[in-house]
């Protein structure tokens, strides 16, 4: 589905990524884990076109995408959320999602200018789709609130809703469980399984808490110092010596 090969990225003198290889299989829910600063978010930023890599390739369903602008990559079927929630803060919940429908508006600018029938129809269709999506996230009652006024949890959910508006094939989630307690994490996990089924998604999520990632994901990819040091099922990872050494540190247990 998504294939990353030899990805390298430097910032100044610092090697943020050096030769990262990873592969997502269609329909899986995989986790990208590793300590802070190991390069997980940088992988997302390179894959979604925010940074241009110094070397390496990224392809979705065989189509290379390195060097393309973020919106083109999004249209190839990759959507994402951000670690430090980036909503359109002064727009309503409704408009946050509708903005993401924009690339596929069924009317042209002239049609919008003259408010033709096609425009009215198109707007109605977008609104209906948006409301359906919001309903799925239980956000429909908040549709007219400004995004910045939402509670933290709703903001995270709205960001996922906005990412889904583009009907992506691959969904990249950057620490979706940040700040959640275990029962909330459980609910999130069920929710992710549900949207994966409904939208036929392949999901890659970042999580730096080892135990949590093991609870959610079917397969784990572990990064440290800008490289992938291991991948496999949670039980394989749990027993991987390199992971235990590099990630878990000396003598601490995998709870942090």
């Amino acid at each position: 589905m998504l294939e990353v090969k030899g990805l390298t990225k430097r910032f100044g003198g610092i090697m943020a990524l050096c030769g990262v290889d990873l592969r997502l299989r269609e329909g899986e829910l995989a986790g990208l884990i590793g300590p802070n600063g190991s390069g997980k978010t940088t992988v997302f930023n390179v894959v979604t076109g925010i940074y241009r890599p110094d070397d390496g390739s990224v392809a979705i369903e065989g189509e290379p995408l390195v060097g393309l602008a973020p919106h083109k990559i999004q249209r190839m079927g990759i959507a994402r959320t951000f670690q430090n929630i980036r909503l359109f803060r002064n727009l309503t919940v409704l408009d946050n999602v509708r903005a993401a429908y924009h690339p596929r508006v069924p009317y042209g600018p002239v049609s919008a200018l003259c408010r033709t029938g096609r425009f009215v129809e198109g707007e109605k269709e977008i609104r209906e789709k948006t409301m359906d999506l919001l309903a799925l996230f239980s956000l429909q009652v908040r549709k007219d609130e400004l995004a910045r006024n939402l509670p933290y949890g709703d903001q995270r959910r709205l960001e996922i809703a906005r990412a889904l508006a583009s009907e992506p094939k691959v969904l990249l989630l950057d620490e979706p469980a940040a700040g959640m307690n275990p029962s909330e994490v459980k609910a999130l996990m069920e929710f992710l399984l549900e949207i994966r089924r409904r939208f036929r998604l392949t999901i890659l999520l970042i999580e730096h808490r080892m135990r949590l990632a093991m609870g959610i994901c079917e397969r784990l990819i572990v990064m440290d110092f800008g490289t992938v040091i291991a991948e496999g099922t949670p039980s394989e990872i749990r027993n991987d010596r390199r992971v235990i050494e590099a990630y878990l540190g000396r003598g601490t247990h995998p709870d942090s």
């Binding site: 910032f11 978010t41 930023n45 925010i50 951000f82 430090n84």
Partner: protein, 290 residues
């Protein structure tokens, strides 16, 4: 070569103004449009101090520095401080308001008056040849005064407790407050320090180009500000470098092209530099954290 020396003359004056822009921007991210007018007030204080009070040159500078600094601190308190937590554009608009107010208020007959006034020369201008270039005593004074100001500024910013606090506040106001720094006081101090340099610049400008009026701050202000951006806004050495480039480009254009294009060339350079280095020559490139 002669043109280069002439360019240095105006370049140094621009540097004195540009420093105020860059420091204020560095600390509160405000383009302080009123700064050029503080420079103008400095020049007028100089004018009165020389003409009416017949003070010695040193005292003239002191008076201009004090007046300009006081004015800037008052402006900050009235027009900018209440808007610290408002959208940035709001204080930009009040800065424009303050600028217009200062220009037109001082142009009233009851204040400085609307005309051009000739600035008295406190000494006779003479020149001598140094290394094949004509150097006037006026230019020597400008160079020396500016260099002294720069040295003093470097000392304040890098060697004093207040300077450390200024740098801390410019990086993170909230945390600086947690260290016990009175953030408002530090910001006022920065406004005052920048204005003091502009006050010196105003007097020097008056002596060098001996005609003043209340709108004289507009163009030098814009150019000094451009210089600050050219060098990398927020950077003190950048402001000086930008100002010197600005001065050179202006005198060279006037000498070899046409003085009517003088005001334009500097901005062509500015745009060209920004396109190549979006944060100016010495500005630190910012990578936004995503």
């Amino acid at each position: 070569m002669q043109q280069v020396v002439n360019g240095l003359q105006i370049g140094f004056v621009y540097a004195l103004i540009a420093l105020g822009y860059t420091m204020v921007y560095g600390i509160v991210r405000l383009i302080n449009f009123a700064h050029g007018d503080v420079f103008m007030v400095g020049a007028f204080i100089g004018l009165y101090a020389i003409e009416r009070c017949r003070l010695p040159l040193f005292a003239v500078f002191l008076l201009a520095v004090a007046g300009a600094a006081l004015l800037a601190v008052v402006i900050d308190k009235i027009a900018y401080r209440p808007l610290r937590n408002a959208p940035r554009i709001a204080s930009l608009i009040t800065a424009i308001g303050v600028s217009l107010f200062l220009e037109y208020f001082t142009a009233l007959r009851q204040v400085f008056g609307p005309n051009y006034y000739s600035f008295p020369r406190p000494f006779a201008v003479s020149s001598r040849e140094v290394c094949g270039v004509e150097l006037t005593n006026l230019q020597a004074i400008i160079f020396l005064t500016t260099l002294c100001c720069l040295a003093l500024l470097y000392y304040v910013v890098h060697r004093t407790r207040m300077g450390r606090a200024m740098r801390a506040v410019s990086h993170d106001q909230v945390t600086a407050g947690l260290m016990g720094v009175n953030v408002n006081l530090v910001i006022s101090f920065t406004f005052g320090l920048g204005a003091a340099l502009a006050g010196v610049g105003g007097v020097l400008y008056g002596i060098a180009y001996p005609q003043v009026n209340t709108f004289m701050g507009v163009m030098p202000g814009l150019k000094a500000f451009t210089a600050a951006v050219l060098g990398g806004i927020g950077s003190i050495p950048g402001a000086v470098l930008g100002a010197l480039i600005m001065g050179q480009s202006e005198t060279l254009t006037a000498a070899y092209l046409s003085s009517t294009y003088r005001d334009g060339i500097a901005f062509v350079i500015l745009i060209a530099v920004l396109l190549l280095r979006p944060t100016g020559i010495l500005g630190v490139p910012r990578t936004e954290k995503v």
